[in-house]
Chain length 186, copies 2
């Protein structure tokens, strides 16, 4: 019954039969081409696909972690600590920046990781404004045991692309990110 109103189906092939299969964004673009032929909406083709791919990948990652009693953000914080330095230790600010969340959100997340015994929280004696977050042995074990399978899962999610595709994709996205100012300030 849903298509009674949507009538999205007939618009599908009006732009010609491509060899590469059309995705949802192609359908949106063809709707725009019909509704507003005077506007070139091609930027949406890139921005829309990045957004959509990000959500689908996130979903696939979340499903994987849920099978291991872990939330993606939990692994994210633990893994950031793990790779940052041999002590597996960072202050709240750096951790918040690396996880791309506000300091308020990180306080909440660290609270729960402490409650689960995966990280340790302590004030830094040399500067008591700072709070150091350290991976516990258990936290390190979680990263150790899940890193490889997590990467394997991402590998699976990307399996529709060849090795060369992925290199090209990574290079193009690096170029985009750099132009958007995504650089760590030294």
């Amino acid at each position: 019954m849903k298509d009674t109103l949507a009538d999205s189906t007939p618009a599908n092939n009006t732009t010609g039969d491509d060899i590469t299969a059309a995705d949802t964004v192609d359908q949106i673009l063809s709707q725009w081409a019909r509704a507003r032929p005077d506007v070139d909406c091609s930027p949406m083709g890139v921005a829309g696909r990045i957004s959509r791919a990000s959500r689908l990948l996130e979903k696939g990652i979340k499903e994987y972690f849920s099978g291991h009693d872990l939330e993606p953000w939990e692994f994210d914080v633990l893994a950031t600590l793990f790779r940052s330095n041999p002590e597996h230790r960072l202050c709240m600010s750096d951790l918040a920046a690396a996880a791309m969340v506000s300091s308020a959100a990180l306080t909440n997340r660290v609270d729960r990781l402490v409650a689960r015994g995966l990280v340790h929280r302590e004030t830094w004696p040399a500067n008591r404004r700072m709070v150091l977050i350290t991976l516990t042995d258990e936290g390190r074990a979680v990263v150790d045991s899940l890193l490889e399978s997590h990467v394997a899962n991402e590998e699976r999610l990307l399996s529709g692309l060849t090795a060369e595709d992925r290199e090209q994709l990574a290079a193009l996205l690096r170029k985009l990110l750099t132009s958007l100012g995504d650089v760590r300030l030294g």
Copy 2:
């Protein structure tokens, strides 16, 4: 003071000096290479950049709309109605699917759009379970006046890429999306 603990800077060039500037993901990958040289984390290079690019683009889009007293989700819903059919009308389910939010969230959003006079809500006589959402004249005017400048803003955000880059990027992402099952069911 932040770098006292992070020590991310020295790791930056350990993998060699590339011609293309390194982004944040390159630094994360080099941290992994140091912490766990036995694991090939290259899938993170793609997945991480997609996630990061998505967030940065969202931010740029949000900033643009905030200058026009509009939230990105508002334009998203209005534009979806606009392009869907000449009547600018969709039922809740289809609208929720197109906006990629739960039906509960869409109820909330439509409430606010009705309050702003941008859409009209009515039950469909032929099937009183369904609720039809229609763009008002004012809602249509908003899309009409903002579509071009919104696309221009996306164009600006992508200006670091050449036209050929964008085509390649769109094609690769289309391939990825298709393999992830992003197809509208006819």
